[in-house]
């Protein structure tokens, strides 16, 4: 009987570990969503800025706020900066998409593994009860 109860304890420990892993995965997924939300907002804002810059004449004055200082910028340079930023943010979003998919797959397989361990625990306990 003692060997089966140590086996049971091992199974339960395994279950605990898997449950911890699962909750860590879920936290990672939540963080992914948060970061992705932030990037999506920034992307939207930058695209608005780009649209405004496109509407300007060649000779319009563009200033950038750097800390407490308003610095005059060249329109072409401002355009280039905003475009580069948009590219960067889009690349980050794609990367986040990839890792989100990866995390969700891991979460799914972790859930299945937990289910299996739970079933084994149940059958173990049923086996003990019968004997």
């Amino acid at each position: 009987m003692s060997s089966s109860s140590t086996a049971l304890r091992e199974l339960q420990r395994d279950l605990e570990n898997k449950a911890n892993d699962l909750s860590k995965l879920q936290k990672d997924i939540a963080k992914n969503h948060q970061v992705r939300k932030k990037y999506t907002i920034q992307l939207g804002e930058n695209e608005l800025v780009l649209k405004e810059l496109d509407l300007l004449n060649e000779d319009a004055n563009v200033y950038k706020l750097i800390g407490p200082v308003l610095v005059k910028q060249d329109l072409a340079e401002a355009n280039a900066n905003v475009r580069k930023r948009i590219e960067y943010i889009s690349a980050e979003l794609k990367r986040l998409d990839g890792s989100l998919q990866d995390l969700e797959e891991k979460q799914h397989s972790k859930r299945e593994a937990i289910l299996k361990v739970q079933q084994r625990i149940q059958s173990h306990q049923a086996g003990k009860a019968k004997a």
Binding site: Q42, L53, A78, V82
Partner: protein, 157 residues
């Protein structure tokens, strides 16, 4: 922004499906729908606030355009410190277009900018109102079916 939740695929929950679901599933659906409705209401409020601020800016611009050059005014340095100054060129305005960029525009361009932003916000607002009312209908319907099921299951003697 609309792609962030794939709302289209979740939206197709009909009355028939609601009837088939168990009590727990119904509760989960209702909670989810309530959370989404609250989120959408918050967004709607944010848009309303932003639109209000833009309309204030537009009014201030219009007011500024009426003032003659060289007019004496008080310039705020902090929330409680004002310094006397004179109005220089009321035809040029600096517009904050986001992400730390400012553009020098003429008065009419500035007014035009405010108009454009207000219109953009208004159309976003209208779109959101549609989505929000659909979600609210779903939440209400789910609530109704939930109540009916609870009544069914509880002994009616």
């Amino acid at each position: 922004m609309a792609s962030s939740r794939g709302a289209g695929s979740q939206q197709v929950i009909r009355m028939a499906d609601l009837e088939k679901m168990s009590l727990d599933q119904l509760k989960a659906v209702k909670e989810q729908a309530d959370i989404e409705v609250n989120l959408l209401q918050d967004s709607l409020n944010n848009i309303r606030t932003a639109t209000g601020r833009l309309e204030n800016a537009s009014a201030a611009l219009h007011d500024l355009s009426l003032r003659p050059q060289g007019k004496k005014m008080l310039v705020p340095l902090t929330a409680s410190l004002y310094v006397p100054g004179t109005l220089d060129d009321a035809d040029k305005v600096l517009v904050d277009i986001g992400t730390g960029y400012f553009v020098e525009k003429t008065m009419s361009e500035g007014k035009d900018y405010c108009e454009r932003k207000i219109n953009l916000l208004k159309s976003n607002f209208d779109q959101l109102v549609e989505v929000a009312s659909k979600k609210k209908t779903l939440a209400d319907e789910t609530g109704v079916v939930l109540q009916a099921k609870i009544k069914q299951l509880s002994p009616s003697s």
